[in-house]
Symmetry: C2
Subunit: 440 residues, 2 copies
């Protein structure tokens, strides 16, 4: 691995080198911290940095090999909506400035128990919801957003400031930033990973997700979270994957780059010998985005009611909008949305059961200029459907900014989807385009 | 209100007296604390007591009337699975002994913002799930359980140690203890009240609930939590309520007292001039209890994975059972359960739309001897269906222990259900039976 700095490695590469005594936790943490020092003023991914990261690395380096966890020595960025016992958890809200929780969220603690080093907390859209935008820049073009709400986590991984990162997704907050930043991201099926100690926006949708620099890295995190079980009765996978590709119910919202990404995906998969079919979803899937927003806003009222009562106009208007139900979504709209979602879950599982995976857009296009988190319309329905989603970058010679596609499948088919993703990632992401390499 | 001690008042009575300057917060808190001192060794409802309760009462008494909240001066018991900034949150787990969160759960903080005094934290089944039982006794017969998991909260209200109490329900943890203790309890429709900062067992089912001594008290709490909106398109209520009564799909599990409670309910409602019909539910509702358990145990695996990893065999076996999926509930069982639940939600809403309310059993029978929380089979399906549930006591001359019935309705029909409950409560609960009066 000559010429590659430890902070550029994938988690899987770093693990292998550490196991062979060719890399230490201190080296990878030091390289990451050095990268942060060099780039932070430009990228602004972090809200706080763990000052004990190097001493934690030393402690881990001293551990006998048989006592090491699956994430031994890997520096991980954590979105600042996860409680951490040793770092403030601010949710990028002025109302939580300096707030210090008493314990880690279980999803964070599990990473530490596996030997991970929490490198710091990353910038986010306020409460991973709305209100204040993250200040983070896209490492590929600092005039642009890295996407939100998991802005800092995505930028940190894309800019080689952290090896892995924790994110969340309620609409498209894990997958869209992965697409905008040219990295790998996963939102598992609903219900598989504990969200305790993570700021709540929507009980139905909030999902812990993560970023890495390869499918293997995503699978490593899934393994730590106990996502190891094949969906019983799912397809037997063969060398030739049966893949459905769809522009989805919002083709009118897709920009040229996103259409190209899907068409390029189809071409590369076919060249790789896979069986690719273009699909249309049932017309009623057009309503899923509205169903998502209805449930989101009604659940958001419960989530932000206490903050609204306590802080009044000091709390950002966006949250009062939810609490006061200013869009007038009625209680029967809510029921209609829940029932429509449930029906579509059954319908989509049925469609997806005929394929090894379904490929759909990850975002309307490349990252827009500015700091807004971006439009979740291409992601929200997949969160609503409770299905696993993986973003894989699809570099194209004539598209300067990164763009990715979403691989998805039936609910709880996460393990097979990860296996399929590992198989096709080298086809979709040959990193042929030099523009994609951020200078180190 | 001569001869009645302030701690015996309903919340609504206490509010009225405080508003008329005939009662102070200090008086009601002092009377509650005195009752606790007198009875705690026998009942054991509390895991911690707020030593500042009296000084908080003094501060509240000094507040000008126009600055007082809707729960001004009322002492409230909080189940020890809600985070509180000033009292330890132990979840009745030795692993959390003395654990001090940094902030209140939003559901607790909102009560304080409305002037409530958190009197202390109450005993619970470990993590409101399984593992260790609460040590609390039923105030009506200390050899018996008050029911679980919200054991201490139910006993505290029943024994006049607190005016109101916070509970949670994942299976039947709010409603069943209310029935066993002869008090009023409410589990609102899913998604209406924030569960942030409350220990997670099941993301789909965990619901904040509450106890009081009248329907008005339950409605007061609902109002504080923003449950004020009528379900659009629901029935116009008249003086004569149309009420469906059902033994439900588990009639074989009902003991004589529970059957009597429903039959007595039918008689008293008819005598009160209401239109009562006995109902059978569709046969497929027999599967809902299994669907509930499947989702519960699979979601419980995510909830307890980190504790299992951290504490190993020090953590109670019950939690390892969930994490390791020892009942072998497959991922497709989980999907089947989710889809079955969704279909039944639609079916039940359709049935319930023809009635002002549906009345079903709250428990298999009266509180059993011992400290086990009791069987949730009569409650779990209602939690699964996401519908509002209210327990109303039905005292009967020939049944020594308390027993109640559950009023339910369509999802999000909480406000109309509370109105209907207020109308029929005097018929069902005339407190004619002297055995029900706990000596003060």
């Amino acid at each position: 691995m000559k010429g590659i700095s430890p902070n550029q490695l994938t988690a899987s590469q770093a693990r292998a080198l550490i196991a062979e005594d060719r890399l230490t936790a201190r080296e990878i943490v030091a390289a990451s911290l050095s990268r942060i020092r060099e780039r932070d003023c430009e990228i602004g991914a972090w809200l706080s940095i763990n000052e004990n990261a190097l001493s934690e690395a030393d402690r881990l380096d001293a551990l006998p090999k048989d006592q090491r966890g699956r994430l031994h020595g890997l520096p991980i960025a954590v979105k600042d909506v996860f409680d951490t016992f040793d770092l403030p958890t601010t949710h990028n809200s002025p109302l939580y400035s300096g707030f210090q929780p008493a314990a880690d969220a279980p999803a964070v603690e599990l990473l530490r128990l596996e030997g991970a080093i929490i490198l710091g907390k990353t910038d986010t859209t306020e409460f991973a919801a709305c209100g204040n935008d993250a200040a983070t820049a896209n490492p590929h073009d600092t005039t642009r957003t890295p996407g939100g709400s998991s802005a800092g986590s995505a930028a940190a991984v894309a800019d080689f400031q952290a090896t892995l990162a924790l994110a969340t997704q309620t609409g498209g907050s894990t997958i869209r930033p992965a697409s905008f930043c040219g990295i790998y991201g996963m939102k598992p099926s609903a219900g598989l990973v504990s969200r305790e100690g993570v700021k709540v926006y929507s009980v139905s949708f909030d999902t812990v997700g993560w970023y890495g620099r390869s499918v293997e890295d995503l699978a490593l995190m899934a393994d730590v979270y106990g996502i190891t079980e094949m969906l019983d009765g799912s397809r037997e996978s063969t060398d030739t994957l049966k893949i459905g590709i769809s522009f989805g119910p919002h083709r009118d919202r897709l920009e040229l780059e996103s259409i190209s990404a899907l068409e390029t995906t189809a071409t590369r998969l076919r060249e790789g010998g896979h069986d690719v079919t273009f699909l249309n979803f049932p017309a009623e899937f057009g309503a899923l985005d509205l169903f998502h927003r209805t449930i989101l806003h009604r659940e958001g009222a419960a989530a932000f009611r206490t903050l609204a009562r306590r802080f009044g106009s000091v709390l950002h208007e966006d949250f009062h909008h939810r609490v006061e139900n200013r869009d007038n979504r009625s209680l029967s709209d809510w029921t209609t949305a829940l029932d429509g979602a449930a029906r579509a879950q059954m319908t989509f599982d049925n469609i997806a059961s005929g394929f090894d995976m379904i490929v759909v857009p990850s975002a309307p296009g490349v990252a827009p200029v500015g700091r807004k988190p971006g439009d979740p319309v291409l992601n929200a329905m997949w969160t609503l459907l409770r299905v696993p989603c993986i973003n894989i970058p699809v570099p194209m010679v004539d598209v300067a900014m990164p763009i990715g596609v979403t691989l998805t499948s039936m609910r709880y088919n996460d393990v097979a989807l990860l296996k399929g993703a590992a198989k096709i990632a080298p086809l979709l992401d040959p990193r042929m385009d030099k523009e994609w390499q951020i200078p180190l």
